[in-house]
Symmetry: C2
Subunit: 361 residues, 2 copies
């Protein structure tokens, strides 16, 4: 991918490609005093390479989990970073996937009311989607992602090579967001992506890296035009209202990006049912996307419809008996539509799951 500069309220920031972890980390601003917040598994995986790059006295290691995203779990991380010298004039370097990014972003945005941070995203989901867009999300009690800030990293260090070590399901989860962005971009990008993808794609770093770049190109105008998600950026939630509910109702047994694929199919199914999209569009999508969500469609068979509906109802974006859904009229024609929960969404989701409409007819 080519280097990018992205505008945001707090500060403009860059996305810069690097050939190796070492070249990325030696480029950090204020490296001699920087603090590092590092995903534990990633550090173990790249132990030899990281040993020389990360001085032990300035490293805080963290195990990525949803449970880590609470004030209770964050407090010792804050204290560890403070004890190791993090303050206003230091850079915080975050190395990890979405959870580390959420935590690192939140810490960088509120410590000393905002300090410099740089991000090395280690998953396809983080590289292709979450690393740009400014958002952090923290959980509180039973409320997921209700707390957060808009505070992008000052630099994003993109190392395609790290994708080689990811398990298949993590790659497929990232591809879910890649697919979403190309569906938003229009028919030609989506068809090119489908033509590129095959079983072998999961291990093809050059191909994945191409689609990381293409994803950023689609996402950038949405987040620059509407950083605070009050208008057009809402469309990036295509598949997410349902996807989040599927994750929550299965106790996160479905990886996020795969839940989004199932969520996009649900949205398209309901769009066809409402006469917005042609039935043929839904039929084509469920045929083309089936390889990219299996076997997780069937995991939904075990989820309670009530739990799914409750999760949708508690989504922070919903404010009454209708739910603001991103529906579709076809490739690149997504739109925000209020949909009655009891009359339309509940039976639509029930059919989608019970009749296995996520599979090809």
């Amino acid at each position: 991918m080519n280097p990018l500069t992205i505008q945001a309220r707090a500060h403009a920031y860059t996305v810069e490609p690097f050939a190796s972890i070492a070249s990325a980390l030696t480029s950090v601003a204020g490296r001699d005093k920087a603090l590092y917040l590092v995903d534990r598994r990633f550090r173990e995986l790249y132990a030899a390479e990281l040993a020389e790059l990360l001085p032990e006295a300035r490293v805080v290691e963290l195990e990525a989990s949803e449970g880590a995203k609470s004030f209770e779990a964050l407090t010792p991380v804050f204290l560890d970073l403070l004890a190791k010298g993090l303050k206003r004039d230091r850079t915080l370097v975050v190395i990890g996937g979405g959870v580390l990014q959420d935590i690192g972003c939140f810490i960088a945005s509120v410590l000393s009311r905002g300090l410099r941070w740089e991000l090395l995203p280690t998953t396809l989901l983080a590289q292709a989607d979450s690393c740009i867009g400014s958002k952090s999300s923290i959980n509180i009690g039973q409320y997921k992602n209700q707390i957060g800030t808009f505070y992008p990293p000052h630099r994003i260090l993109m190392v395609p090579g790290v994708l080689a070590s990811l398990p298949d399901d993590e790659i497929r989860s990232g591809l879910g967001e890649v697919i979403k962005l190309q569906l938003l971009a229009g028919e030609s990008g989506f068809r090119e992506l489908m033509a590129d993808l095959s079983a072998g794609s999961l291990r093809d770093v050059a191909l994945l890296s191409k689609w990381v770049g293409r994803s950023a190109a689609v996402k950038q105008p949405y987040i620059e035009t509407d950083e605070f998600d009050r208008g057009v950026r809402n469309l990036l939630n295509y598949g997410h209202t349902f996807g989040h509910a599927y994750e929550s109702a299965t106790a996160f047994a479905i990886p996020h990006g795969i839940a989004v694929v199932l969520g996009m199919l649900t949205a398209t199914c309901i769009s066809a049912h409402l006469g917005l999209a042609p039935a043929a569009h839904f039929d084509e999508l469920r045929r083309l996307l089936a390889p990219w969500h299996q076997p997780y469609g069937d995991v939904l068979q075990g989820a309670s419809l009530d739990a799914i509906l409750a999760a949708i109802k508690h989504d922070k974006k919903n404010t009454g008996d209708t739910v603001n859904c991103i529906l579709t009229r076809g490739f690149g024609r997504m739109e925000k539509t209020p949909v009655p929960l009891a009359e339309v969404l509940a039976p639509g989701i029930k059919d989608f799951i019970q009749k296995r409409l996520y599979l090809s007819a």
Copy 2:
């Protein structure tokens, strides 16, 4: 005071005077669904007046204390507000002094990544100083005010009448910041303030309200020019490096604004010692300000010099063996100066306290 509009990165906001609590609270935007975070003592004091204005189901009451400003203490407040329906499309109304403002601002800035809030400041300190400027401050472990955000209220509802019910020490604490702002503004404003103040001033709401307005007029250009406190806004910290340390080393036995008065005298004493300010300037200030900090100068006699120096060293603004102090060359001539901690500050503070230099010669 006259209505004001203040520019900030997150949003412009207004300061609007009201003749009564009722007229202020009935003006809240989205009042029929607003949530209220209210200082417990204030609510008890104005129980009859507030009963009709605050619907119980949408009120969260809080006891103001430094201990309330931690993630641990904040979590049940967040959960209570969420359970009572606070979300993106609701207004949070905060009624209280500095602690409630810190907590309310932090909650409003991170819940749903930022929601609308309005503030009714109930102390002189909050009205004259903290309510404008965007900042929130939260404590973590032993680190005071290390966590925070820049997120001003959307409206500030100024009700001078509430000052009538404050204890003398709270008025004097607020006057500390009023004095600081007039010292920054220059000689004529400071002399007018000194001429206005007398023992009776503490109960003269019209007079206090005049100086609330004058304080905002001095502070506004500093915070609009340098909202994020990287340059000229630093000067508003005049007296604060020492003041914060005095508060901390006496376990907060000294009210904040009074500690600031003692801190300004310390800064002026050291400025005179370094030859920056005429000795006569320090002598005049300690004579004029003595009525506004007694008997708290003597409370410092019980504080450990080591604890004071440790607090200064751990201040988030300081990064080495020198301390960035706001010193002074006279009225309206404050400047940021790095001062060696061991060689200059330690003996200067020791003399100031042990020789009771805060009193008139």
